[in-house]
């Protein structure tokens, strides 16, 4: 391992690496993020290594396990360079064929290619697949080409050159000004301008200052920070080190969730390698600047993503937010000035330093510059991580990249900003995604979660679900958050169970006001958003639940009933056989009926009734028609015709 002592040595080392790497050599990359681990990437990797050796290709073919490519719906993903042939959902048994056909014979294996459901065509190259084509992946893009456990991969694509540039050619003040000019806003939730935060710390009195990476990503369905930390940990470390230089910190922390074992592993490997190479530690790149980083594993509390709670937890105490009105960039960790930014924010810093603020600000809207990574989950065809320039209309993300709603269902709402974000309806699909735009619409950017909901989703139940999550995750310190949410959750649960009363909406609104105005931290202040935004855009659903005891989405169990239309039932007996609670009375040649007293509303009959009959109906807000008399149940007519 070389220790690199100056920017010139780094450049020389990079040139050596690049010259040793033949761009025309076949390189097979396999995504190995957590999502693909779950779908068997580890086994596929073992098979590749084994097969490359068995077929005698060790010298001609390079195999590399990379970070997450983002298209998690179709993982594990294999990309074969330099031709960029892209194969999806690879199983270990596909591997011998890939080696013998594609690698040796240069033949494309049709069945492993991406099949575009819109055009019915097969697509070979990654960059031509709609999911990737409409993205702008400046932060996330390298994930697919480097091995996160190999620092040389990062250096070969220009890694640590921004650090070298900062330390050798820029004063801390210049670095700070560049980030400020780029108007980089925090990607973790609040959207606070990072440069302004840094400046506050730099100007704050005291010799000891800290920089911290917030990798306590806790929003349900959000995993962009995990994927960055797993797939490109050096970009985060480089950004953090540059930030430390700018504000005058010599110690940094990475607060990462215990539930992200691969991220913890990869970032620890990265720190060790960066120390060996001299990018961390004493006298970095011969500049005289010292900086060390420690990893702290979080114990799984959502509220620890809140800046002051995170710092309290780092100090070894229970993670509760502080009530202080002094910003943590002035009085933070152990009472010292501390800059806390999330993973994605830090990963943007090397790009800004290398390319300049003017380059960065060409992406985005007036108030939101650069790109943003979103995690697209829920009722969406292409689940995964996408990076787009700020200002991209929501509908482009959902339909062009995300491929729209599966199973022919209609789009209903998108929840942005995590559990304390808001649900936005179809009318707002043209909204450009940006910090201010989303806040104005009653939601927020948050850390970039996007949960897509279709017509079968009940918006009252969505509000109830998120409130349940937040009630569970509240630290319990302040009354509005702990007690206000307890009561809001009770009322919302009652509404979804058909026990809503006149005046519930007004009481919820008053509780929401108390939460918003009087809570101690951002968790409580934003916890009413799921309720407020669903009420704003879907008030009719609340009213239907309360007044008519009806769930318009036919989703709330207590408010729906299943019923077999006697005109349509053809006595195929499938539903009766599949019903787990033996609630369906029927038999050969008999119209089936559901015994409502036994029905648990599991929905099995609804799902198994053959589409050509569609005899099982879901109803809400109306009485179940009485069962037809026994003598009328025999399907005579059908038989006679046959």
């Amino acid at each position: 391992m070389p220790r690199i002592n100056s920017p010139a040595e780094l450049e020389a080392y990079r040139n050596t690496l690049v010259s040793q790497r033949d761009p025309d050599k076949t390189c097979i990359t396999l995504c190995s993020g957590s999502a693909c681990h779950a779908s068997g990437s580890r086994e596929v990797a073992a098979r590749f290594q084994q097969e490359i050796e068995a077929q005698g290709l060790t010298d001609q073919v390079e195999f590399r396990r990379t970070g997450c490519h983002g298209f998690c719906e179709r993982g594990p993903i294999v990309v074969i360079h330099p031709d960029e042939i892209c194969y999806f959902q690879i199983k270990p048994d596909d591997v011998p064929e890939i080696i013998s056909e594609t690698i040796k014979e240069k033949k494309i294996i049709d069945r492993l290619l991406y099949h575009d459901p819109a055009t019915n065509e097969k697509i070979i190259r990654e960059s031509e697949i709609p999911f990737y084509k409409h993205q702008g992946r400046i932060v996330f893009g390298s994930n697919g080409s480097i091995d996160p456990k190999n620092i040389d991969d990062y250096i070969a694509i220009g890694g640590y050159s921004a650090l070298a540039k900062s330390l050798s050619g820029m004063t801390p003040e210049q670095v700070l000004q560049e980030v400020k000019k780029a108007n980089l806003r925090g990607r973790g939730g609040g959207g606070f301008p990072a440069g302004v935060k840094w400046e506050g710390s730099r100007n704050a009195p005291g010799d000891i200052k800290y920089v911290i990476v917030n990798a306590d990503e806790g929003d349900p369905g959000a995993y962009m920070d995990r994927s960055l930390l797993e797939g490109n940990p050096h970009s985060v470390l480089e950004g953090l080190t540059i930030g430390a230089y700018a504000i005058g910190a010599h110690e940094g922390y990475i607060y990462v969730r215990q539930e992200y074992p691969l991220a913890v592993e990869n970032v620890n490997v990265a720190i060790r390698q960066a120390e060996e190479y001299g990018f961390l530690g004493e006298n970095i790149l011969g500049s005289g600047f010292d900086f060390v980083v420690k990893v702290h594993r979080g114990a799984g509390a959502f509220v620890c993503g809140e800046s002051t709670a995170l710092m309290t937890a780092l100090e070894g105490r229970a993670g509760e937010p502080r009530p202080k009105y002094i910003r943590s960039n002035v009085v933070g960790l152990w009472g010292r000035p501390s800059v806390l930014n999330n993973v994605e924010t830090w990963a943007n810093v090397p790009l800004i330093i290398n390319n300049g603020a003017d380059w960065f600000t060409q992406f985005g809207t007036d108030g939101s510059k650069g790109t943003k990574i979103f995690s697209l989950v829920g009722k969406i065809t292409n689940t995964g991580l996408v990076e787009v320039p700020m200002g991209t209309p929501m509908k482009d993300i959902i339909f062009k990249i995300g491929g729209g709603i599966p199973n022919g269902k209609k789009f209903k709402a998108v929840q942005t900003g995590g559990p304390s974000g808001g649900c936005l309806p179809e009318e707002l699909l043209d909204l450009p995604v940006g910090f201010d735009e989303l806040t104005k619409a009653g939601s927020m950017m948050g850390s970039g979660g996007m949960i897509i909901m279709d017509e079968d989703t009940c918006m009252v139940d969505v509000a109830r679900y998120f409130l349940e999550f937040l009630t569970d995750e509240s630290c319990g310190k302040c009354v509005p958050c702990r007690e206000g949410m307890r009561q809001m959750l009770k009322i919302l649960t009652n509404i979804t169970k058909g026990k809503g009363k006149e005046g519930d909406i007004e009481l919820l609104e008053q509780l929401a006001e108390t939460l918003v105005e009087a809570s101690l931290c951002a968790l409580g202040r934003s916890a009413a958003n799921p309720f407020l935004s669903t009420l704003k855009y879907f008030r009719n659903e609340y009213e239907a639940h309360i007044k008519d005891k009806r769930c318009p989405a036919l989703s709330c169990k207590e408010l729906i009933a299943f019923y077999i239309d006697p005109e349509k039932c053809k006595a195929c007996t499938v539903c009766a056989r599949k019903c787990p609670s033996e609630a369906i009375i029927g038999g050969k040649g008999l119209i089936h009926i559901i015994d409502q007293s036994k029905c648990t509303k599991c929905g099995t009959c609804f799902e198994v009734c053959p589409p050509r009959y569609r005899a099982v109906k879901k109803i809400s807000g109306e009485p179940v028609p009485p069962p037809i008399p026994e003598e009328a149940r025999i399907i005579v007519k059908e038989r006679a015709q046959k």
Binding site: P323, C475, C478, V479, R482, E483, A518
Partner: protein
């Protein structure tokens, strides 16, 4: 020690720079209700009852007076329609847990709070943290602490410490606004007296 001046409820109030709004108001004889505040303890900002409206540079915001530092020239209002409405809600939320607390009932009268607005869930403790913080900050014993979080959060004596320290202290008793602490303490006392060795084993 430099003196600054601000306006509270239309009166000009002098304060020193390190004061909080609550301290400045109290020093001028202006009453702001509190539940979790104690002059010997670090401000906690938990009950949120001491919220006030601050107007500074033309913008009005709601802040918690027990932690908000005084600023020169600001205008503070300790009562307004909105403040009263939120205080009333906070009291109603707490009364669901401690319907018989004298302090809460007195405040309820003042703010017209309905103690039956929310379904009763009598747990007595309102999580003001006075006992926990007093034991930690003043007595430095940590014999009582919070366990769990959110709506499951409770105060709990640590039997091993309590058995040694609490007998001759009990200074936290009168601090409790709902008398819940006493109940919790007595419970543990009962347990430790009956089977001290077994309980200690259970804790370890």
């Amino acid at each position: 020690m430099s003196e600054i001046s601000l306006t509270i409820d239309g009166r000009e109030v002098k304060a020193t720079k390190e004061m909080t709004l609550l301290e400045a108001a109290r020093s001028a004889g202006i009453h702001i209700p509190t539940l979790c505040y104690h002059e010997k303890l670090e401000p906690y900002g938990g009950c949120r009852l001491c919220i006030v409206e601050v107007e500074s540079r033309g913008r009005s915001k709601i802040v918690v007076s027990c932690v908000y530092p005084v600023e020169s020239g600001i205008t503070v209002r300790t009562r307004s329609e909105k403040i009263d409405r939120i205080r009333k809600m906070i009291l109603e939320l707490l009364l669901a847990h401690a319907p018989d607390s004298f302090i809460l009932n007195d405040l309820a009268k003042e703010y017209n709070a309905d103690k039956n607005r929310f379904e009763k869930e009598a747990s007595f403790c309102i999580h003001c943290g006075l006992c926990v913080r007093y034991c930690a900050e003043v007595k430095k014993k940590n014999a009582v602490g919070f366990i769990d979080r959110g709506i499951r959060k409770e105060i709990s004596f640590i039997p091993k410490i309590a058995a040694q320290e609490c007998w001759n202290c009990k200074e936290c008793f009168p601090l409790c606004p709902t008398e819940a602490l006493q109940a919790a303490y007595v419970l543990v006392q009962g347990l430790t007296t009956a089977e001290p060795a077994a309980l200690l084993r259970a804790v370890e």
